[in-house]
């Protein structure tokens, strides 16, 4: 057996259903060995999208996503995708080919120091020097990626190591890492402190971050919230932790969030920050947050606690395990008047100003689409104005809301939706992007067709890089620079070149019928939506 065979076998042992990749000579032994295992090999059209697709796969399956690239430019092209996954704590194993071990460090053709280059975006990385280590390294990599605070792990394998014969293959049952033992169970003393603080609180609120979804704690969090009648707000990554229309849910916080969510955070006397890093887009002045309130910070990563804000009660552990435990307690408290006040705030929220006639209102489109989506639909939002509208107006039921929240990587939605489709062939999956972000990933229409991984794509076209245009409008008095997207392709023609149907929505007339047709079409479909070029998110 070759090292490359062992690599493929390891993926099989881990139950991987699909890998997303792009070959080159330095990873050819591996792709050759992949012919003898039952794992789908999906050829993306640029390496960055292999990482995004693996991310979509991971977020829908709850398993580790795998992406593969060759040495040099293949590996460096992966980096943005790896960084995107790292920022959102998505479990990935990224495999790269590398030049022959004897040539390492000599700057030969397609050599890049990828473990060095990716260091600040990976949870851990390996440069494999000995083929016999492959089973142990793969076992460790999957373990590291999928436990504790999840994240990408990189395995760089020189071509000679892939071609080395190994004497025996035994996939380890366990890992033995003395330096890695993430805390799962919350400290009993701290948990009691949380309950005690809650019993004294008058206006508690839970702020749910992406960690809630990553640890699979949605049900436990909802149970906790309902059991004690504690209202919930979320960060962008925490969208879909609660159904949007849950009576105890009060929207997304932050500078692009709901006014009533921010008011709730300001008025609260106790915040349970859970699985959120308290970054600048969610909380504008984190150091002020504890001035007049108790902050309980729950996170699996001890380094998140106290990084951006100093909590009153820190609680390290897996969110699911912690909420399971919190749900065991009896709490005598009545927060109904607080919830009533938040409902009032919600009712007072300013209504979005209607955009000009003659265009589709993106907020209305997203709202009407949401109503018609399946209960468990996966909604993938890209980055830009489209993301802000998606966050603001998509109504999550039991499904998932995926986006690149931490890194804000444009072009994420289409490859991530393709990955999501590979993880679940039966779910309704919709990617919503702008004309800028669409053009960053439109080459993946071919991937979708080739591998029969259909997703529904909505492109909000305004002929601008809208969010930057809006920023330039507000900051530079409308002096636009490098935001005009003239020269964009005719989507109907482009779709037809890929043999994909394309529906056009030019204004509000007949929008409902177009959405119905869009959702009814089996297989891939694009909706080309004309929105007001001057429309804003604020």
């Amino acid at each position: 057996m070759l090292g490359a065979d062992a690599m493929a076998k390891c993926l099989e042992e881990e139950g991987v259903k699909a890998v997303f990749g792009y070959p080159g000579v330095a990873i050819c032994p591996f792709f050759n060995s992949m012919l003898s295992v039952h794992i789908d090999r999906i050829l993306v059209r640029t390496e960055q999208n292999a990482a995004h697709a693996a991310s979509g796969y991971a977020r829908v399956s709850g398993e580790v996503g795998v992406c593969v690239a060759t040495s040099g430019p293949g590996a460096t092209n992966l980096i943005t995708g790896i960084a995107t996954a790292y920022a959102d704590s998505i479990p990935l194993v990224c495999i790269t080919g590398q030049v022959d071990s004897s040539l390492l460090g000599s700057d030969v053709f397609q050599e890049a120091d990828i473990t060095g280059a990716a260091e600040s975006f990976v949870k851990y990385s390996y440069l494999v020097r000995n083929a016999e280590d492959i089973p142990r390294i793969f076992k460790e990599a999957f373990h590291i990626a999928s436990t504790g605070r999840r994240g990408p792990v990189l395995i760089d394998v020189p071509i000679d190591v892939q071609n080395t014969t190994i004497t025996k293959f035994k996939y380890p049952e366990q890992v033995n890492l003395r330096t890695y033992k993430p805390t799962v169970k919350g400290h009993a003393v701290q948990i009691k402190k949380v309950i005690k603080a809650l019993s004294k609180a008058k206006k508690p609120i839970i702020c749910a971050g992406g960690g809630v979804i990553l640890s699979g704690a949605r049900q436990e969090l909802r149970h906790f919230s309902h059991q004690y009648e504690i209202p919930v707000v979320s960060t962008m990554m925490g969208l879909s932790a609660m159904p949007t229309e849950d009576p105890l849910y009060f929207g997304m916080v932050g500078n692009n969030g709901k006014s009533y969510a921010n008011r709730a955070m300001n008025d609260a006397d106790l915040i349970i920050m859970t699985g959120a890093r308290v970054a600048d887009r969610a909380i504008s002045q984190p150091d002020l947050i504890t001035d007049n309130k108790i902050l309980i910070h729950i996170d699996v990563d001890p380094a998140e606690i106290g990084k951006n804000v100093g909590p009153t009660i820190p609680l390290v552990g897996d969110i699911k395990a912690i909420f399971e435990e919190l749900n065991q307690y009896e709490l005598k408290a009545d927060f109904s008047s607080w919830v009533a006040l938040l409902k009032e705030y919600k009712a007072q929220a300013p209504v979005r100003k209607k955009p000009r006639d003659g265009f589709v209102d993106p907020a209305a489109l997203i709202g009407r689409l949401s109503e018609r989506l399946a209960e468990n639909a996966v909604y993938v939002a890209d980055v830009g104005q489209n993301q802000m509208w998606s966050c603001g107006y998509h109504i999550v039921k039991e499904g998932l809301f995926l986006t690149s929240g931490g890194m804000g990587t444009m072009g994420y939605s289409i490859p991530a939706a393709i990955g999501a489709r590979a993880a679940d062939p039966d779910r309704q999956i919709v990617a919503v992007c702008g004309d800028g972000s669409f053009q960053m990933s439109m080459m993946e229409l071919a991937t979708m067709q080739q591998h029969k991984l259909p997703v529904k794509i909505i492109v909000l076209q305004n002929g601008y890089l809208g969010l930057v245009r809006e920023y330039q409008h507000n900051t530079y008095k409308g002096n636009y620079s490098v935001v005009d997207l003239s020269g964009s392709p005719d989507l109907t023609k482009l779709a037809s070149a890929y043999d994909i149907p394309c529906l056009k929505a030019e204004d509000m007339n007949g929008l409902d019928e177009i959405i119905d047709r869009f959702l009814k079409i089996e297989g891939p479909v694009i909706m080309d939506v004309r929105i007001d070029p001057l429309d804003t998110v604020k």
Partner: protein, 163 residues
């Protein structure tokens, strides 16, 4: 505020780069850094002296602990530690300043480790303040080159006993 981090790491290639990279990326100060093997095979010790706000110093410890090649982080203040630095200073001398040089060495307990007709290398191993004092005293004399180890430190025995 100064803080000393005694970091036990797996002795693998690239570990020092990862630790140093962490400090660079997160804008943590490195006042000094020293690396060496320990008595345990495959384990090295990195001693880092850093300074900053309390919250930053706490983050440094947490971020170091997050690195998978880091086995253990011990941290202590200057008062809690026994710290030493080794310094080698090569100076040019002549008959006018020879006596002064010897007096400085004598006063600070430094030794002459190497000497030729016109140059000598002074060696000194002491707490960082003392090695700094030597540098200051020699500043007015013609210093050719300097090498220093960076601070090495262990928690004081009395502290270790309590733990």
């Amino acid at each position: 505020m100064k803080r000393i981090y005694s970091v036990l790491v797996e002795n693998r290639s690239g570990v020092l780069a990862k630790v140093a990279g962490l400090f660079a990326r997160r804008c943590f100060n490195i006042d000094s850094l020293a690396v060496g093997e320990t008595f345990e095979k495959g384990v090295s010790n990195i001693t880092i002296v850093s300074s900053g706000e309390k919250a930053t110093l706490e983050q440094i410890e947490k971020q170091l602990n997050k690195k998978l090649d880091v086995i253990k982080v011990k941290t202590f203040s200057e008062e809690e530690s026994l710290s030493r630095e080794l310094i080698l200073v090569k100076v040019r001398f002549n008959k006018n300043n020879r006596r002064e040089l010897l007096e400085i060495c004598d006063a600070l307990g430094a030794q002459i480790a190497d000497i030729s007709k016109s140059m000598m290398t002074i060696q000194m191993c002491d707490v960082p303040e003392k090695t700094a004092a030597l540098m200051e005293m020699l500043a007015s004399i013609s210093v050719v080159e300097v090498a220093r180890t960076g601070t090495l430190a262990l928690p004081k025995c009395i502290l270790s006993e309590k733990q």
